[in-house]
Symmetry: C2
Subunit: 214 residues, 2 copies
C-alpha cells in the first residue's frame, strides 16, 4: 500500500507523538488482538478493528500501516508480557527450584492466555529477519525479547548451580532444552482443552526440575 504521505506522518507521530499518540495506538493494538482472536488473522480486516473502536479504517493508518503490521504489534505485546513476567520471577528472592517452576508455569500460562499470538511468534523463526524495513525493526525487537527471556532463565539456572541444587554440565544446552520443551507446546497444545495452561506448566516444570536436580 503506497501511502507515502500518511506513512511519513505515521513515522513522525511514532517518534514525536507523545503519550496521547502511544495510548491511542495501544487501544488499536488491543482491539486488533480481540478481532484477530475472534476471527483469525485471515478473516480479519482493519475495517473490523476500526468498527470495534467506533471509528473508520482511514483513521487507523495514522497509527498502523497494515493488517500485517497490526498483527506484528499484537504479537510483540504478548511476548513483552511473557518476558516481563519472566524477568520479575528471576528477580524474586526465592530459591532456584521455586523460581524455575514459577517461570515455567507463568510462561505456559501466558502462552495459553495470549493464544494464538505467542504461537505465531514461536512458529516464525525470529532468526530469519525479513528484508522489509518495518519487519526488520519488529524482528530485531523480537530477537532482543528472546535474549531477555534467555537471560532470565540463565539467572535462575546459575543460582541453582551456585546453590548446589542443580547439576548442569552445559548451561546453554539446559537452557535450550527447557525453552524447547516449553515452546514446542505451540505444535500440540490447544487452549480450552482438557488441560489448562497452568496445569500443563506444572507438569512440564516437574519433569524439567527433576531432570536438573542433583
Amino acid at each position: 500500500m503506497a501511502k507515502s504521505g500518511i506513512g511519513k506522518r505515521r513515522m513522525a507521530a511514532l517518534r514525536d507523538g507523545g503519550e496521547g499518540y502511544a495510548q491511542r495506538r495501544n487501544e488499536i493494538i488491543a482491539a486488533g488482538a480481540e478481532v484477530f482472536r475472534e476471527r483469525g488473522y485471515e478473516a480479519s480486516s482493519l475495517r473490523d478493528v476500526a468498527a470495534r473502536l467506533g471509528t473508520d479504517r482511514a483513521s487507523l493508518y495514522y497509527y498502523v500501516a497494515s493488517k500485517n503490521e497490526l498483527f506484528q504489534l499484537v504479537t510483540q505485546q504478548a511476548v513483552e508480557q511473557v518476558v516481563s513476567a519472566a524477568e520479575s520471577v528471576a528477580a524474586e528472592p526465592a530459591d532456584a527450584v521455586t523460581r524455575l517452576r514459577k517461570l515455567i508455569v507463568t510462561t505456559v500460562q501466558k502462552y495459553d492466555e495470549h493464544y494464538p499470538y505467542m504461537f505465531v511468534y514461536i512458529q516464525e523463526d525470529m532468526n530469519r529477519i525479513h528484508s522489509e524495513s518495518l519487519d526488520e525493526v519488529w524482528a530485531r525487537t523480537m530477537l532482543q525479547l528472546g535474549r531477555r527471556f534467555e537471560n532470565a532463565l540463565l539467572t535462575i539456572l546459575n543460582q541453582g548451580v551456585a546453590d548446589g541444587v542443580f547439576d548442569i554440565t552445559h548451561k546453554h544446552i539446559a537452557m535450550n532444552s527447557i525453552i524447547g520443551s516449553i515452546n514446542w507446546t505451540h505444535r500440540w497444545f490447544k487452549p480450552s482443552g482438557q488441560l489448562s495452561g497452568e496445569q500443563l506448566g506444572a507438569h512440564l516444570s516437574s519433569m524439567i526440575i527433576s531432570g536438573l536436580a542433583k
Copy 2:
C-alpha cells in the same frame, strides 16, 4: 511449470515404472541432497543436479517435477531414516532407560547428519498441509512419519512405566516435552560446532531421563 505431457508420463512411471525407475529416482534424490547441502536450496538448480549425474536437466523431469519437489523428496528420505532408526531402537530387547537414551542420541545424530533437511522439516509445520496436490501427498507422508516416531517413543515410555522405572503422569505431555527438547535444536544447534550430534544427544538424554526417573 505447465509440462502436462511429461507430468503425465512421470505420474505413470511413478505408478508402473518398477524398480529401474525407482532406483534412478533415488539416485537423483541422493544427488539432490549433495547439491542442496553444498550450495543451499536457493543457489541450487536442477541443472546442477543433472550435471552431478552427468545428464541434462530435461531428463530429470521424467523423475521429478521441480526443484521444490526434489527438495521435499530429499527431506522425506532424511525423515524416513530417523523414523526407521527410532523404530529399530523401540524394538530392541533392552530396558527402557537404555532404549530411551539410544533413541534420543540416535535421533540427534541423524539430525546432525542430515542437516539441514531435518531442520527444514521441523520448521515447516506438517500440520499445515498445503493445498497443492503434490505438496499434500508429501505433507501426509511426513505427518505419518511423525506419528510413527511418536509411537516408537511411546512404546519405550510405556515400558518404563510398566517396569516401574519411569514416573509419568501424562504420557502425552512427556512425549511432547521430549520431542520439543530434541526438535528445538533446529533453532540453535549448528553441526560442525564444538559439540557433535552424539554429544548433544547424550546431554539431552541425561536431562530427559533424570526428569522421568522414579
